[in-house]
């Protein structure tokens, strides 16, 4: 009696596992069963090629699919993730190492289903949950334009993901949990501009790839989640686009949001880090109407989100740290940013009342002090002023004290952001030293 019960439950368990396996397989490859014959690719016209080139720009494909010093879009750049490096593929039409033997259907499968020819599942470092939202015509236009570019023979190195995460089985399970091919459904209650903006932000722009928090398995909170996220490995914080305290998109005039997207700078903010690359390689080249549509959508989203109470003032800082911070500020920063952090209009940003200084997450501040740098040189801001790197000049303790000074002493009561510790500085320094 007992043995029979045991046997029965083992069978049930086995059947359950088989069912689960079938579900995973069905979820990842099921559509291939009933696949209708691939539609013929319409011959490319100058208009469709231009559209394809524009969409490749809007997706900033070149940023990940180009390795420093090599031909654009020939792939091979390591995208470092907490699970290992994923190497971007060669998008030029080379037969053996690129898209030379791909069909338009293969390209659509990659964009919409996250699958390479032959059904191989792609690693989600390629943000296919976003490209999935693009229409078949978009995919065909991009493919036609990519095919029109010079072929570059450059083999893509194999990913170095920690076993078993790079295996097809692991990717299949991950995708069953976090990915569903989707099409973009316009919201009929919103304007055409809003919908265009939503499509750009959620689709080709793949904003949530950075501006959304990722869980322990590396999945974002969805293509429309813009609540901000810490980018692992590269150590930048992509601020929340809906929280007023972080980016103030609800109260910033639309023209100023457009200006930031187009030129990398507006009256109250300047892009840096990975966002500077996005402006440089993608956004500054987009049509004004599209930037405006994105601004309208982003502002609407920011206005929907509930206002949050101001955080309580943080505890006071130890006198020795406060004194050290003041000294470092006077010696290295006050010359440009002013004694009171007031900045120089149009040249050096003010630090008092600066949202980027007051972000709860101090990662971007540490990056700025360690590596300094320039805002992107764009048509709207062609000759930026630069900031020196301090990585070789200041110690962790000095940088921590300096940033604490910026966030506490230089700020008005009620808006202070709290201490930065030497440990926080040390971690970012260690992880970003090249």
């Amino acid at each position: 009696m007992k043995r029979r019960l045991l046997k029965l439950s083992a069978r049930l368990l086995g059947a359950g596992l088989l069912l689960l396996l079938a579900a995973v397989v069905w979820h990842n490859w099921g559509d291939l069963l009933g696949a209708s014959p691939a539609p013929q690719l319409a011959p490319a016209t100058p208009q469709s090629l231009e559209r394809g080139a524009y969409l490749v720009r809007a997706g900033n494909c070149v940023a990940c699919h180009t390795v420093r010093g090599s031909a654009p879009l020939a792939g091979g750049r390591a995208i470092d993730t907490p699970f290992g490096a994923v190497y971007s593929s060669n998008l030029t039409p080379d037969d053996d190492t690129g898209l030379g033997r791909w069909s338009a259907q293969d390209f659509w499968n990659a964009l919409h289903h996250g699958r390479a020819p032959g059904g191989r599942l792609l690693a989600p470092a390629f943000p296919y949950e976003h490209t999935s939202l693009m229409a078949r015509e978009d995919s065909d236009a991009m493919f036609a334009w990519l095919r029109s570019q010079p072929a570059v023979r450059q083999a893509t190195p194999a990913h170095t993901l920690v076993w078993p995460l790079g295996t097809q089985a692991a990717l299949a399970v991950w995708r069953t949990l976090f990915f569903e091919p989707r099409t973009f459904e316009p919201d009929p209650t919103q304007s055409a501009e809003w919908n265009r903006g939503a499509w750009l932000v959620q689709g080709p722009g793949h904003c949530a790839a950075c501006h959304s928090p990722r869980n322990a398995l590396g999945a974002s909170a969805g293509v429309a989640d813009l609540s901000g996220g810490l980018m692992p490995v590269v150590n930048w914080y992509a601020p929340s686009l809906t929280r007023e305290r972080e980016t103030a998109l609800a109260s910033t005039p639309l023209d100023e949001i457009v200006r930031l997207l187009r030129s990398g700078r507006n009256a109250g903010a300047q892009v840096s880090g990975p966002m500077a690359e996005v402006v440089q390689h993608s956004l500054q080249h987009l049509h004004e109407a599209d930037l405006r549509a994105m601004a309208i959508y982003l502002q609407a989203r920011a206005r929907q989100s509930a206002p949050e109470p101001a955080p309580a003032n943080p505890p006071p800082v130890r006198a020795s740290m406060a004194e050290l911070g003041r000294k470092v500020y006077e010696r290295h920063c006050a010359t440009c940013h002013g004694e009171q952090g007031q900045g120089v209009p149009g040249i050096y940003p003010a630090l008092a009342g600066n949202r980027a200084v007051l972000l709860q997450e101090p990662t971007n501040l540490v990056q700025s002090v360690l590596y300094g740098g320039y805002a992107p040189a764009t048509a709207g801001h062609p000759r930026p002023f630069g900031m020196p790197p301090f990585v070789l000049e200041l110690e962790d303790r000095e940088i921590a004290a300096l940033l604490t000074h910026l966030r506490m002493a230089l700020q008005a009561e009620g808006s202070r952001a709290g201490e930065v510790t030497p440990l926080q500085v040390n971690r970012i320094r260690a992880e970003t030293t090249q």
């Binding site: 040249i347 590596y371 300094g372 740098g373 040189a377 002023f385 630069g386 790197p389």
Partner: protein, 257 residues
């Protein structure tokens, strides 16, 4: 009594002096006012001069070379080389990545236009015999090794050739060694065809230090500016330089970088 009196006098005097000093400090601060930030290339290139020294006159430790007065085309190419991975230094790459070609050319032209006096060279500690070997390689080359003389391309005065060939004097020994080493290992590259890589590969390993030591110990000539023409243009087609077409007469000297 007298001691108390003397103490009191001293205290009064000290207080008066202190007040006076304080007043002077306040006055001078008031006279200076807040620093006037001017819209200039010097201001725009603070990120450069923080390491490369005021006006690009070189950093204090020998690793940040002088920028002032180097040919504009050469400086521009170096910025591009960092951006495109032909030279490797993470800090430089991060600085130049967001810049446009036009702005890099402007920054290069700015430093090229600065003519500052050079500090006297540090005497070399290398044996005279080895220094003589270095001098011979720089001035005559070595026909047996197929090695052209440095002066053939870098100018008779070794101050470079406009617009793309850098001068070789006024550079710290550490920097010269690091660069020649990097050319030998292929760490540092220039546009193809990479003539300099080919030249440095032919320098025997043990002669690198002789060449760098001799160069680093030379005083600069009265006219420190890069030459505008070579007395004898390179006729040997083996030495074509992708980064300096003027060497093979492909570009009039002084042309656009």
């Amino acid at each position: 009594m007298t001691r108390i009196f003397r103490n009191r006098c001293a205290r009064v005097l000290a207080t008066a002096l202190g007040t006076l000093l304080g007043a002077l400090t306040v006055l001078s601060a008031w006279a200076q006012g807040p620093r006037q930030v001017e819209d200039s290339m010097a201001e725009r290139t603070r990120a450069c001069t923080a390491c490369h020294g005021d006006q690009g006159r070189a950093g204090p430790d020998g690793y940040y070379p002088r920028l002032a007065g180097k040919p504009a085309g050469y400086l521009y190419h170096q910025l591009r080389n960092f951006a495109e991975g032909r030279r490797h230094y993470g800090l430089m790459a991060r600085l130049v990545d967001p810049l446009s070609d036009a702005y890099m050319a402007e920054i290069a032209a700015h430093f090229a236009s600065l003519h500052l006096p050079y500090p006297p060279p540090a005497p070399s500690t290398l044996a005279a015999q080895r220094l003589a070997r270095g001098q011979a390689l720089v001035l005559q080359g070595d026909a047996a090794l197929g090695l052209p003389a440095c002066v053939q391309c870098h100018g008779e005065r070794l101050t470079g050739l406009r617009p793309h060939v850098p001068g070789l004097l006024g550079l710290p020994l550490d920097y010269l060694n690091a660069q020649l080493g990097a050319w030998q290992t292929g760490q540092r590259k220039a546009h193809a065809p990479d003539c300099m890589a080919e030249v440095v590969r032919r320098i025997p390993h043990e002669d690198i230090i002789a060449v760098s030591s001799w160069l680093a110990s030379q005083r600069l000539p009265a006219d420190t500016r890069p030459a505008s023409t070579l007395p004898k243009p390179m006729s040997d087609s083996r030495w074509r330089c992708g980064s300096a077409p003027e060497l093979s007469g492909a570009l009039p000297a002084g042309g656009r970088p």
